[in-house]
Amino acid sequence: MSFDWKSYTPVIIPDIPNLHEIDVYTNNGGYESLKKVLSNDWDPEKVINEVKAANIRGRGGAGFNAGLKWSFMPKPDGGPRYLACNGDESEPGTFKDRKIFEYNPHLFIEGALIAAYAMQCSAIYVYIRGEYYSWIKMMEKALKDAYDKGFIGKNILGSGFDVEFHVTGGAGAYICGEETSMLESLEGKRGYPRVKPPFPAQKGLWGRPTTINNIETLSCVPLVIKNGADWFTGIGAETHPGPVLYGISGHVNRPGVYELPTGMPILTLIEEVAGGMRNGKKLKGIIPGGSSTPILRGDALEGVNMDADSLREAGSMMGTAGMIVMDEDTDMVEMLWRISHFYHHESCGQCTPCREGTGWLEKILLKIRNGDGEIRDLELLIDLCSQMEGRTICALADAAAWPVRYTIDRFRDEFEARCKKSTYALA
């Protein structure tokens, strides 16, 4: 795909000064989508169908069709129903949702309000990681302004639709980005992920039907309502459409968040968008969508695009589109040990394979890093991964295992070179 990235005009974070102020937002067509759905001819089902047709695949990592997720909510029974917005953003390499809080908070608020209308929710909570104290304050201000203008609260814009909207913060726990852990944390508890089923749509916050969506996902919603599902599906990759916030970090000249269509060639993102490799170094590898997504070798990126299909074919995943770029000087053993340290630190401790497994992954990698490893330790690591994957309540164990499995697989020579020659026969 040859794509002139400079000709793309951002829509999630457009280049409009002071767009975070509510008056600037409304002067630029803000809250028109909300008005549109609250007018008589858009019933909740029509909104869900439009969003479903747009195929907004969840931007928090799972990539599930947002409209389809909404349709799993049971029929209203008169009791409370919730929308929980996931602004935990804790997967290493991911730093995009805070850009929305800072630059275009009302787009997200509008999207959440439309979602709440479509699912007939009575309250919305946005959960933001505790470290984002500055951004929590920004959201509190934006929500207050939206309340004052009558976009939130009772009888919104005279439509008879009522919804409350609150911001609440975490306090430092990666696991709270997992949706059911986030619900536990919102309920004021330790962030232990819940066993599913029941899924949150059946039993979520306080046992009531709840849907959880990522901030960027919800921010796409007003754009879909305004421009239509066809407009959205016409952007980027066919099976994974729309604009997306790419967070590019690591050894590039111009790291940062860039809004571009999905399906961007990875090499274009690195060489052109992010200004190329720092100090003219060679590209060694990338982690495409947050630290849990399998690493890809720099020499295997020709023709690989940032969308679910292309990345699956290449042996990885889109995740959060938070791409970590590594140059030729990167020590893969050191890099992988640090990732394993992260997952060990963040395991909530509920399930044995994860609590113990993440610790063993880190210990063995530390041994290899310190020059005391043996080649059979590599087999032990892979075996450990197999004992962890799919054997726990949530996906943290998988997130910890994948980097180990694929980094060793794809940079095996480097790991072997760090190991002592084994005195045992290889299996």
Binding site: F95, G169, I287, S291, G322, I324, F342
Partner: protein
């Protein structure tokens, strides 16, 4: 149990506002611990008791929550806590160099507090500022991005004079590229 800690009337008002957001009291646990930590600088067991008492929740629950989340300080910390990120992107871009520079400069190791009680240093997990690595956060508040040794010198001097660095907005490079 007599408690050395007490919320101010403003704190109690804030806690009421927090409680009003939720259909139950328990969800106020995390935000109330925050109110307490911002007031007292930590949430030692005695502060956990105060939070439990104020909310009418079991102390065991508040203790369980306080110990699950890393941002709550379970013991007294320095006046300024320097949380240096060393997770992947920061690791790749010199996060550990920044950490070690600070350790040498202040004469303490990560996890320790200076004798005068001014500074604590921690090596922390990803803070979600990967594009602006290496970086650190000061006492759960301001992010300081794109650290260098010179920038750290400046920040430490400014903190010694009790001046927190200002919030630093990092723009979208795409916008500047296009214009």
């Amino acid at each position: 149990m007599a408690n050395n800690y007490e919320f101010t009337p403003e704190d109690l008002k804030e806690i009421e506002t927090i409680k009003a957001k939720f259909p139950e009291v328990m969800p106020a646990t995390l935000p109330t611990l925050w109110v307490a930590q911002r007031r007292f600088g930590h949430v030692e067991p005695e502060v956990q008791h105060l939070v439990a008492e104020t909310l009418g929740l079991p102390v065991s629950h508040v203790h369980g929550v306080a110990t699950f989340y890393t941002q709550y300080y379970k013991e007294k910390m320095g006046k300024y806590v320097l949380d240096v990120c060393t997770t992947t992107s920061c690791q790749l871009c010199g996060g550990y160099d920044m950490l070690h520079y600070l350790e040498n400069k202040l004469g303490i190791k990560a996890g320790e507090t200076t004798k005068d009680g001014m500074f604590s240093i921690q090596s922390v997990e990803c803070l979600g500022a990967c594009g602006y690595a290496p970086m650190m956060q000061i006492t759960n508040d301001v992010y300081v991005n794109n650290l260098t040794e010179e920038k750290l010198d400046e920040v430490i001097e400014s903190l010694k004079a009790d001046k927190m660095p200002e919030f630093e907005s990092v723009g979208m490079p795409q916008h500047t590229e296009r214009s």
